[in-house]
Structures are given as structure tokens and as C-alpha cells.
């Protein structure tokens, strides 16, 4: 990649790091919310609103 390889690698490294961080956080948040919701008994009347 020539004399500017450092810039190219850094650009891709930052992109991968940010995207992996976003994906990881979203998955972790989902698992945490599902766990918390499972502690409540199922109530059908709660499905109507966001």
C-alpha cells in the first residue's frame, strides 16, 4: 500500500473498531433488556405501546 499505508490501515482500523463497538453494545443492551423483562410475569395488556 505504499508510503501511506499507515493512514489507510488507521482509517480501516478506526472504522472496524467503531462498528464493532456499536454492534457489541447493541447486542449487550438487548441481552440485558431481555433478562430484565423475563423477571416480570407475562402481561398481555402491555403489548400495545412502545
Amino acid at each position: 500500500m505504499g508510503e501511506h499505508a499507515g493512514f489507510i490501515i488507521a482509517a480501516y482500523a478506526v472504522t472496524v473498531a467503531v462498528l464493532l463497538g456499536v454492534i457489541g453494545w447493541t447486542l449487550f443492551d438487548h441481552a440485558r433488556l431481555k433478562r430484565a423483562l423475563q423477571r416480570f410475569p407475562a402481561r398481555g395488556d402491555m403489548d400495545g405501546g412502545a
Binding site: 505504499g2 482509517a11 462498528l19 447493541t26 438487548h30 430484565a36 423483562l37 402481561r43 402491555m46 403489548d47
Partner: protein, 251 residues
Amino acid sequence: MLKYANPANFLWLADRLIPWLGAAAALVLAVGLYLAFFVAPADYQQGETVRIMFIHVPAAWLSMFCYGLMGLSALGTLVWRHPLADAAQQAAAPLGAAFTFICLVTGSLWGKPMWGTWWVWDARLTSVLVLFIIYLGLIALWRTIEEPALAGRAAAILTLVGCVNLPIIKFSVDWWNTLHQPASVFRLGGPTIHPSMLWPLLLMALGATLLFLTLHLMATRNEVLRRRLRRLTIVAAQRGERAPLAAGKVA
């Protein structure tokens, strides 16, 4: 379509769409990266640094696409007061901030070897920095106001005001003398990029868009669940039950 605007139906649909969208994004990005690194030639002026374009440009497009999506959601919140529109808008803000951050950093890493500077206060760079600050401001606003409906309306108004920045970003390179190059893909008269670079770029943009849509569905699903958990916690507290999770941790 309206049927899926119901949060419960949305959750059902999101659970089924997310794996397929994610797999499609991974596949398209893998092919796009292969073409970007092993098929597309080095630029005759910029040399190998043109490889940065394949992540910088999709990130720039998505930073604006995400804000446009938030603008539409803001209308849904203010006009129809639809709770899913508010959840979609709130879920999009961190994603927009992430893609704008990638755009700014990769642009800086591309600018240093090509322009000789990491940053310049020209109209394009400055307006994208303003977009990033607006995203951060919106995230802060949602965290500041405890009542979700009130926070959603306040954020929707700020989002719509911020929409004025989108045409400024798009046309900044035409309206002012900027160090940033003018539009080379979406322009009257067609793209000025050689097809050997254009197709990998379009494929990377498609893959990044699919990834964004996957992440947005996942984040909106989380937001719907968070609001459901908050409501259940409040109901449990009102009934005098011991809440399984403190309300402060789910707001």
C-alpha cells in the same frame, strides 16, 4: 405496512428481519472490500490512499441518510405522535453519530497525506462537524429529560431545526470555495469516477446501508423493550410490588 407500526408486530418482524439483513450486509461488504483492495486500481493522483474513499464516502452518505431518517421520524412523532417513530428516532441518533465520527476521522486520515493537513475549517468539513455536534446534542437531550414522550417531542423539534444543515452539507462544495472536492458520484451529468472504482464504491455503500438498517432495527427493538420495561417497572411500583429492576436503570 401500518400493521407493523404496532410495537408488538414490529418486534415480531424485527426478530425475523435482523438475521437476514445482517447476513446480506456481511456478504455485500465482504465482496465490496475484495473489489476495493484487489480489483480497483490505485488513483493516478492520489495513489493507494484512494482506498480510504471506500469507507469515507459510505460513512458520509450514511451520516446524512440517518439524519434524514430522523427527520421523517420526527414528523411521525410530532404529527401522528406515534411511539414507534419516537423510538426509531432515538435509536438512530447514536448510529448517526458513529457514522459521522467515522466520516470525520477517515476524512482527516485521507486529508493529511493529500492536502498536507489533518483539518481545515472549510464549509464541507465544518458543516459535517456541526452535524456530529447536533447528534451529540440530541443524545444529551434524550438523556436529560426523564419523561420519554416529552423528551421525544423536544428532540423531534430540534431534529427538524437541524435538517437545515443537510442541504448546507450537500451543496457546501458548490456554494463556497472548499478544499474538499466537489460531488463526483451524485451530480448532474453523471459520475466522474472511473467504473473500476465506482462499482466497488457503490457496493460498499450498499453494504454499509444494509449494516446501518440492521443496526437501526436492532437499536429500535432495544428502545421498544426499554420503554416496555420502564412501563412495567412503574406499574409494579404503583401496585406496591417490589420492582425487579430499579426504574432509574431503565429510563
